[in-house]
Symmetry: C2
Amino acid sequence: MAGEAVEEQARLSELDIEAIEMFISFLKLVGLPKSVGEIYGLLFVAPCPLSMEDLMDRLQISLGAASQGLKLLRSVGAVKVVYAPGERRDHYVADLELSKFATAFIKEELNPRLERALQRVERMEGFAKGMDPKERKTAFQRIERLKHWMERGQKMLPWVLKFLVS
Amino acid sequence: MAGEAVEEQARLSELDIEAIEMFISFLKLVGLPKSVGEIYGLLFVAPCPLSMEDLMDRLQISLGAASQGLKLLRSVGAVKVVYAPGERRDHYVADLELSKFATAFIKEELNPRLERALQRVERMEGFAKGMDPKERKTAFQRIERLKHWMERGQKMLPWVLKFLVS
DNA sequence: CATTCATTTCATTTTTTATTGAAAAAATCA
DNA sequence: TGATTTTTTCAATAAAAAATGAAATGAATG
């Protein structure tokens, strides 16, 4: 009980910083907050599993941010728990398969929107039927174009997925 | 000077609302604010060109939001100005080519990040060289994986673009 | 099973982003 | 040109999103 838990300086290497900045930037693209990018970036280049406290100390983020960020990353499969024998704390490693983010984005963001959009298009066609002739024609043309785009999107997605999932 | 400019009720049809909601949802995906989705959605189904005031009245958005939203939409080519003879105000129509949004996103968001990322990867390789043997190996493996992914992304983009641009 | 340590949850605060509207600038018209 | 209308800009405000940290929950240890 003598050696006190002196606050570790917990520095980040230049390599760490590059990785972190890179992932902040890319994950923002799919709507993920900075803290998630930080966590994943650090884990991506970490030579060994890190505990939540390691992450908090080195990234200077709060308990809540660390816990929530890890939860999210686990939920998309981008981070795995590693049971370190003799250690009380859970330790985490990055799953290096970056397609995890893309597939999660497609499943959680894109596909639901596409589905809702298809329902909308049907409703829109219903509304367009009740318009007067001249306007109806252009309305249908435009709705048709929307449909065309959704179909195109739905055709492209599986292809993109196949391309992404190594 | 008798007939006063009584505030128009400026209702939105059910069709308008479906279109607006749909575009709010999709454009948010590429980082565009709600007001931009509203404007484009309304123009997309409008049977005739609308003025900025039309948009403000019907969408209940401010002058600033209308002006800035139109500016952005024009800048990506998603909205065109139509000169209505005898009319003082500019009128706007939607360019129905939805790929405009995708290409703008790729040019303005994706590509710049990819370029920065490639520079980062080079720097990271430099840093990794100065690490001790055991850590160096894994570091290089991971950086290699990043490179692999960027290349894959860069290969896929032109293909996606070709697919999108009808 | 009681205590300690680790993690999650969530109300609050902070930060970021979007919207507003008044003032400036630009365009139109007589 | 000068009066008037339209559009842009931007500082202030409002709204949305993210981060914080204290309290609740859940595990591990002895």
